[in-house]
Amino acid sequence: MQKAIKNIFSNLKSKFFGKKDSEYAFLASVISILVGFILAILVLFVLEFAKADSDYSKPLLGIKNFFTYSFNSTSAFAKIFYNAAPLMLTGLAVGFAFKAGLFNIGATGQYSIGAFFALIAAILWQYPWWAALIVAIVAGAIWGSIPGIFKAFFNINEVITSIMLNWAALYMIRLIFFNLKEINTIQSDRTNDLSLANPSAIIPDAGLGELFNTSFINMGIIIALLVAIIIYIVLEKTVFGYEIKACGLNRNASLYAGVKAKKTIIMTMLISGALSGLAGGIVYLAGTVQYTTEIRLLAMGFNGIPVALLAYSNPLGIILSSVFIGFLESSGTGFQGLYSTEMTGIIVSVIIYFSAFSLIVSILIKNTIKKAQEKLALIKVNATKEESESSKDFKEVEKEEVPDKKGDEV
C-alpha cells in the first residue's frame, strides 16, 4: 500500500513538481491557445445554431479551411511571416520592458509614431527605405523614452503615462497629418501610395517576393529575426542585460549592487520604444498599406502584449509566438467566402486575446499543482503514520520522521 502511494507520488513529482517557471509558462500558453480555439469554434457552432436554417457543415468547412489555408499556396504561406515581422518587434518591445519590470502598454503609440514619421521621411523628404526606417526607430525611441523619464525622475507609474501618450500620439499624428498637405494629396484621409510617391522607400524583398510569388513579403522578417537575436544576446550575455533583469527582479537590491536604476529604466523604455517604432516603419514602408486617420489606437501595438505573454518575454520564444499569431492572422482569410470580414476578424481576435490570459492560467496551474502537492503530502504522511503504528519495530524511528516531513512539505 505504502509503496504504491510512494510510487504514484514520485511519478507525479517528476512529472509536475520539478518544473521551472518557464515550463509552467509553456504549459499555460498551450492551454490558453487551446481554450481560445475551443471558444472560437464553439462560437461558430452557437451562431449556426441560432440561425433558422442551421447548416453544421459550414462551421466545419470553415475550421478546415482555416487550418489548411496557409499551406495551400506559397503566397499565403509567405503572409504568415509578413504578419509575424511587426508582431515579433512589438512583442520584443513589450517583452524587453517586462524584463526590467516595466509594462510598456504604450507600444501602440510608439508604433503609430514610428509608422507616421517613417512615412513623412519617405514621402516628404524622399528618403530611401533604410533611412526612413532609422527615422521610425528614432521617433519611436523618443516617444518611448518619455514614460521612462517620468518613471525615473518623478516615480510615476509608466502605465499611466503610456496610456496618456498613446492618445496624445493619436491626436498629434492627426494634427500633423491634416496640416501637412503634401503627404495626403491623392486621398484626403490617408497617406499617399508609396509606389507613386517614392518607390525607393519601399522595403526591398531581397528575392523573397519572387520565391513566394507574392508582394506581401519583404526583408522585414529578416530584420525582425536579427533584432530578436540581438535582443537575446543583449539580455543574456551583456552587463547591460544583466542590469535590466536585476532591476526587474528587485530594484532596491540592484540599486544596492550599484546598478544605475534611473539610467536603466530610461534606456529600457527607449529601446522598447525604438522596437515598436521599427515595427511601425516595417508595416507602412512595405508599400501595401496606407496610414489612415481613424480615431482608434492601432491593434498591432496591443497584439505585442499577447505575443510577449505567450513567450514569457523570452526573445527566442517571441519568435515562435509571433509566427503563431502571424499564422492566425493569415489563416483568417481561409474563413472568407464562408463568413464576412467582420466575423473573420472577430474569430481571430478571440483566439489572440485569449492568449493574453496565459499568465493568469499559469498562476492557476501553479496553484492547482501546489494544492495537489499538499494533498498528496498529507496522504503520504497519513500512510506512514498507519504503517508505523502497525509495525512496532520501527515505531520510534518512523515517529521521528513524520513531524519532520510535515514541516517540509505542507
Partner: protein, 330 residues
C-alpha cells in the same frame, strides 16, 4: 446664447461617463487594486444596456408607456454586467495575485472582441449603426413642467442632453462621498489601499474589502459605459472611444477624491466638447491650423502628464495600490 447652451449641455452630457468612470477607478484604487480595465468594463456595460434598449423592450407596451422605467432597467443591467465583468479582474488580481495591470489589459483587449462578436450576432451592429429610441430623453413633458415662458436656450441647455443617468450620477457622486468619508466601510476601504497589513491587524478583512471595492468599481463603470452611449446618441460599434482611459486621467487629475473628480470630469469634458465644435465655431482660437479639434483633444492628456510631473509629491495615490496583499508582511 444658443451656442452657449449647446456647449454647456454637451459638456454635462460627456462629463457624466467620465465622472462615473473616474469614481469607479477611485473605488478600486482606494481599495488597493489598479483598475486599468475601466475601458473594457465600460464597453461591456454600454453593450448590454444597448442590447436591452434596442431589442424588444422598447417596442413592448411597457417601453411605450414608461420609457424612463426601461432606461432605469438598462442602468441596472449595465451596472450588474459591469460588476460581474469586474469580478474577473478581482479574481485574477486578488485571489491569483496576478499583475493587476496585465490582467486589466487582458480584459481591455478581450472586451471589445467579445462585445463586437455579441453585437454582431445579436443585432448586426457592425453593419449599421444603432440609434437609440427618442423616448429615452427626459423632456419637460416627462417631468410635467411647462417651459412656456422661459427662453428657448434655457430649455436647450437643460433638456437637450438630459437622460436619467445624469441625476443618478449626481446621486452616486454624493453617495460615494458619504460612503468614502463618513462611514466605517469607507474608512476600512481606504485603509486597505493605504496599508492593508495595518488594516488586517485591527480586524479588517482585506481580501473581502478589495473584492467589494473592485465590484463597486465595475458597477459604476458599467453605468458609465451606458451613459457614454447615451451621450453619444448612436452606437456604431460597441466602443467607448477611450473614455475609460480618459476616466483614469480624470481620476488622477481629481487626486482620487470625489468632488475634485467632478471638477476634473467637467474640465476634461469641456475640452472634448470644444474639440467637437472647434471647426464650426468662430470664437474658438484656431492658431491657423487645419482640423484644430485634434489640438484640443491632445490637451487633456498632456495636462494630466504635466499634473503628474509637478504634483507627484502631493499626489494622494493610494500607497498600496498594485501590490497583492501578503499577510506575511505584517
Amino acid at each position: 446664447m444658443t451656442i452657449f447652451a449647446i456647449l454647456v449641455s454637451k459638456t454635462i452630457a460627456f462629463a457624466i461617463p467620465l465622472l462615473l468612470g473616474a469614481l469607479a477607478g477611485m473605488f478600486s484604487e482606494r481599495s488597493g487594486i489598479i483598475n486599468i480595465a475601466l475601458e473594457g468594463i465600460m464597453i461591456i456595460g454600454s453593450l448590454f444596456s444597448a442590447l436591452l434598449l434596442t431589442r424588444g423592450i422598447m417596442d413592448s407596451p411597457l417601453g411605450q408607456e414608461h420609457p424612463q422605467l426601461v432606461v432605469l432597467l438598462a442602468i441596472f443591467v449595465s451596472a450588474f454586467v459591469g460588476g460581474l465583468f469586474s469580478l474577473l479582474l478581482a479574481y485574477a488580481s486578488i485571489k491569483l495575485k496576478a499583475n493587476q495591470v496585465i490582467s486589466g489589459t487582458a480584459l481591455n483587449i478581450f472586451a471589445p472582441a467579445f462585445a463586437t462578436l455579441l453585437a454582431y450576432s445579436v443585432i448586426s451592429i457592425g453593419i449599421s449603426s444603432i440609434r437609440f429610441p427618442r423616448g429615452i430623453r427626459i423632456t419637460p413633458e416627462v417631468l410635467g413642467i411647462d417651459m412656456g415662458d422661459s427662453p428657448r436656450w434655457l430649455s436647450m441647455m437643460i433638456f437637450d442632453n438630459l437622460y436619467l443617468t445624469t441625476p443618478i450620477s449626481i446621486l452616486i457622486l454624493i453617495i460615494s462621498f458619504l460612503v468614502m468619508y463618513k462611514t466605517k466601510f469607507g474608512l476600512r476601504l481606504r485603509a486597505c489601499g493605504e496599508h492593508p497589513q495595518a488594516a488586517d491587524s485591527v480586524g479588517v478583512k482585506v481580501i473581502k474589502m478589495r473584492y467589494i471595492g473592485v465590484f463597486i468599481s465595475g458597477v459604476l463603470a458599467g453605468i458609465g459605459g451606458f451613459a457614454f452611449s447615451l451621450a453619444n446618441g448612436t452606437m456604431h460599434k460597441p466602443d467607448v472611444l477611450g473614455y475609460g482611459f480618459l476616466a483614469l486621467a480624470v481620476m488622477i487629475f481629481g487626486n482620487w477624491k470625489p468632488f475634485k473628480i467632478l471638477f476634473a470630469a467637467i474640465f476634461f469634458s469641456f475640452f472634448k466638447t470644444i474639440a467637437v465644435f472647434a471647426s464650426t465655431l468662430e470664437f474658438i482660437p484656431k492658431f491657423n491650423l487645419n482640423n484644430v479639434d485634434n489640438l484640443y483633444n491632445i490637451l487633456p492628456y498632456v495636462l494630466t502628464l504635466v499634473v503628474l510631473a509637478f504634483a507627484s509629491k502631493k499626489s494622494r495615490a493610494p500607497k498600496a495600490e498594485g501590490i497583492p496583499y501578503d499577510p506575511g508582511l505584517r
